[in-house]
Amino acid sequence: STKGDDDRKDKQSGGVKSGPGVTDTTITLGALTDLSGPYAPLGKSIVNAQQLYVDEINAQGGICGRKLAITVRDHGYDVQKAVAAYTEIKGGVAGFPQVIGSAVVTALQDSLKQDRILTFPQAWPATLLNRPEIQIVGTTYDIDMINGMDFLAQAAQLKSGDKVGHVYFEGEYGENALAGAKFAAGKLGVQIVEQKIKATDTDLTAQIAALRGAGVKAILISAGPTQTATLVGFGAVAGLRVPVLTSAPGFHPQVMASAAAGALEQLLYVVSAAPAMGADIPAVKKLAADYKAKYPDGTLDQGVISGYNAMKIFGEDLKAACAAKDLSHAGIIAAHRQQKQMDTGLGTPEDFSDVTKPATYKSYILKPSKAAPGSLVVAKDAYEVPAAREYKLPAAG
């Protein structure tokens, strides 16, 4: 292709203003995902789930008289590839309902701002708030932790002065969660014992010894599924039988195949803005059934629900933008920011109008259960801790 082919300029057609990625027949969305690197399992679920939505909506005639299509680029969690892929497809997409990898999102955030492309990252740190073009779907990690601590306080009968361990990844995910946990701890009068780890750490025996030595009554973990399994599994037999709470990225159904499965069922809770795949909610059940029908080999992990949900929201945004006769990048962002009460049926209603705030403050508490679809069931319905509203979000400062 030669230079100047990209239609970066907004155009007018059929009474609807259109922009990059929008033709008379198709609206193309972009996905910068990881299908060959460390987050490939998550990437695969999300890509599948989003494709599922696109197929459904196209079967119904599409949006704004146009079919939806997704241009998927696999960056394998390589920042350089991701940036190149972004440069390649940005001129031909109306938005990104999926970008995986915190490093990728952070590397792209300035470009996204400049190009004003609505983007839903599959990461939930509050530091990504405050940007009109970036939307975190659901709660942020810190809000999840504030809600989760409230739950733990009852489950572990925390008293003032008790200690709670927090094992967290270095980086946005862990640090944002830690901020929330510290805030909640302050409210509860408990003390947080920090244990920072790296994504490549799989042996947590030293951390467990340290936490036991400190006499923690409960543990928060903001890490990956294998770390959670190790912590709960070894902790349970090494004299650290306390409730453990993690965020959605800290659990994956496959860890229920490990030797730690029993301990996980007994001790682990997952806090999440999305309900469990095994939740008794009609839309979720339908999603689980449709997904299994289309991808018999697929895993029903939380990526399915969050990916589908994100895509569905994007679809609603496009519908709203169509109604406003503006499918340009700016038009889509504007349409998105007017959604105050978005209810996809796959979680709690969300409000996207205030860029400084999370779209919702409500989280579910989920519990591992080997038998359930996606190995998770709902332990407590979505709720919100009033104190969370007092919490000062990092990006809002």
Binding site: D203, R212, T226, Q227
Partner: protein, 296 residues
Amino acid sequence: MTKLAEIVLNGFALGSVYALIALGFVVIFKASGVINFAHASLLLLGGFTVAKLHDDLGFTLALLVAVGVTAAVAGLVEMVFIRGLGRTEVHTLTILTIGVDILLTTELTRRIGSDVLSLGDPWQAGVRDWGGVHVADARIACIVVAVLLIGTFFAAFRFTAWGLSMRAAAEDREAAALMGVRLGRVQLIAWCVAGALAAVAAVFLAAFPSAGLDRSTGQIALAAFPAAILGGMDSAAGALLGSLLVGLTSALTAGYQSDLSWLGANLGDVAPYVVMLLVLIWRPTGLLGSKERVRV
């Protein structure tokens, strides 16, 4: 006090896992002068084979098959890629192993997908409790196996004809050939041994307290690098000592990170490297590595 004891013991246990991995590097390094970056994928292959077979064959048989499979694959790598290039320099081979690693890892991670595989090892979630000090059974087994294998390897390396052939060939291929050393075979055996070791190491890498084998398990291999170096590449005691030291340092810095927070959080990953740098400044060929002496 039990905290310290537990951290120290588990640090050693972790070190013994590193030692097993490091041994795999050392064997190939000695035979071919190559840093085998494909070792990570061999680990993954070994673990994957055990995981897929243990349900049908039982653990022991599955492990034996896995040892055979990884040895065969490593041997194949040697025959197809390394041997033909016997005349070229080692760095070419080193980078070539990266290519091999990419191929193998891509295939294996594609197969593993999102699974966290259990290897069906006999130790399961068993834990020893010595007066409040907990160590996983699998880790104790690992210490024993590591000591045995490392001892055996270095003894073989020193005293057997194969070991001598390997050292001679590594030093001067032509002179070795003139002594009747079958260069191809000696090197082939070394690669097979390293492959077999990878399968054994994978078992302990994936065993309790780890959650199991997943697509990223192989990446730990690189953590064993400083272990191999720290002790010095050419002595059995050095290999063990270095590995244990690395395990211990990372365990101690992780376990006491709240007391070390002024150095920046999570020193656990950096500490082994800092220790290694200090050791190398003091002794440029590792703790027990023999001093480099040359004459003209």
